[in-house]
Amino acid sequence: MKLVKVHVTLKEGVLDPQGKAIQGSLSRLGYDHVQEVRVGKYLELKVEDDQHIEQQIEEMCRTLLANPVIENYEYTVEEGVTS
């Protein structure tokens, strides 16, 4: 079993109103040295061992997990815990 960790983030130049709101909140709490906040998603997938796993994850990211119009994705494949 492999543990796949996928990070989905908004592309540069794509407006992130949520990130802006969080930055505003941090600033109100006194953390006004925070210049920018960008909000993304983190997904964990437990995937059965397969020699084509990288290719499959790539495909999953492109077709569903991320929207390539507005988002970038990164992933790592680690040895998962067998349960």
């Binding site: 109103p17 997990l65 119009v69």
Partner: protein, 227 residues
């Protein structure tokens, strides 16, 4: 004329869409459940608003992977008129039938009120009953209606006259004030505002009715007058 109104788990404007086609327009409409249904044989297909699959992952993303959307793509290839409103528009974007993507509204708020739209292209089968540059009053109801596409896509949309509706006062931050776009072929329209909620004056506006009338007029010209 026979309309299909596709229902996903979480659709909530399906009855309004049905009412617009069946009662306000006076044509035949059927509610079509997303699972185990066949999209063959309809003259037009309507994708209603709502929160398909609870907007999980991204609005419209999960719905776009269903079998009915595979069938929808086949019908789009055949030239069948397809209208996606609000969440229906989001499904069209996520399925790649229209270019671009939706972001959260600029001010992060769910917005539900009438907006003034400008008809930017009245030479489509969805807008032929409007005047060019006519200003119409149609309600919006969304939180993820901030249309985004890259600069080259925006240029292409403009060059091909694919921007059909714009907001007179942009409420959500959409690029180019875009409220609705059409595919290159001209048979798939997606829009965030709800024309089906503006089909009778007692609803506050009947400006949306002409959209449904346009579909009917064009269908008649193709299949009735030509027969």
């Amino acid at each position: 004329m026979k309309f299909a109104v596709i229902q996903f788990p979480g659709s909530n404007c399906d009855r309004d869409m049905y009412y617009a086609a069946q009662n306000a327009l006076g044509e035949e409409a059927e509610l079509v459940w997303y699972e185990g249904s066949n999209l063959e044989g309809y003259d037009a297909i309507l994708l209603p608003g709502g929160f398909s699959y609870g907007d999980y992952l991204r609005s419209g993303a999960i719905a776009s992977t269903t079998d009915i959307v595979t069938q929808l793509k086949d019908q789009a290839d055949k030239g069948v008129p397809i209208l996606g409103v609000c969440n229906g528009f989001q499904v069209l974007l996520e399925s790649g039938l229209l270019p671009g993507a939706m972001l959260t509204n600029r001010d992060l708020k769910f917005m539900c009120h009438f907006e003034q739209l400008v008809v930017q292209n009245h030479q489509t089968l969805f807008t032929s009953e409007y005047e060019q540059n006519e200003v119409i009053s149609v309600p919006i109801a969304h939180q993820e209606g901030n249309y985004f596409c890259d600069q080259s896509t925006l240029t292409r949309l403009r060059e091909n006259n694919q921007i059909v509706f714009t907001y007179q006062n942009n409420p959500n931050g959409s690029i180019g004030d875009i409220a609705g776009i059409i595919n290159e072929r001209g048979n798939v329209l997606g829009m965030m505002p709800h024309p089906e909620r503006a089909v009778e004056s007692r609803l506050g506006s009947d400006d949306g009715l002409k959209l449904f009338q346009s579909i009917l007029v064009n269908w008649r010209e193709h299949y009735v007058a030509g027969a």
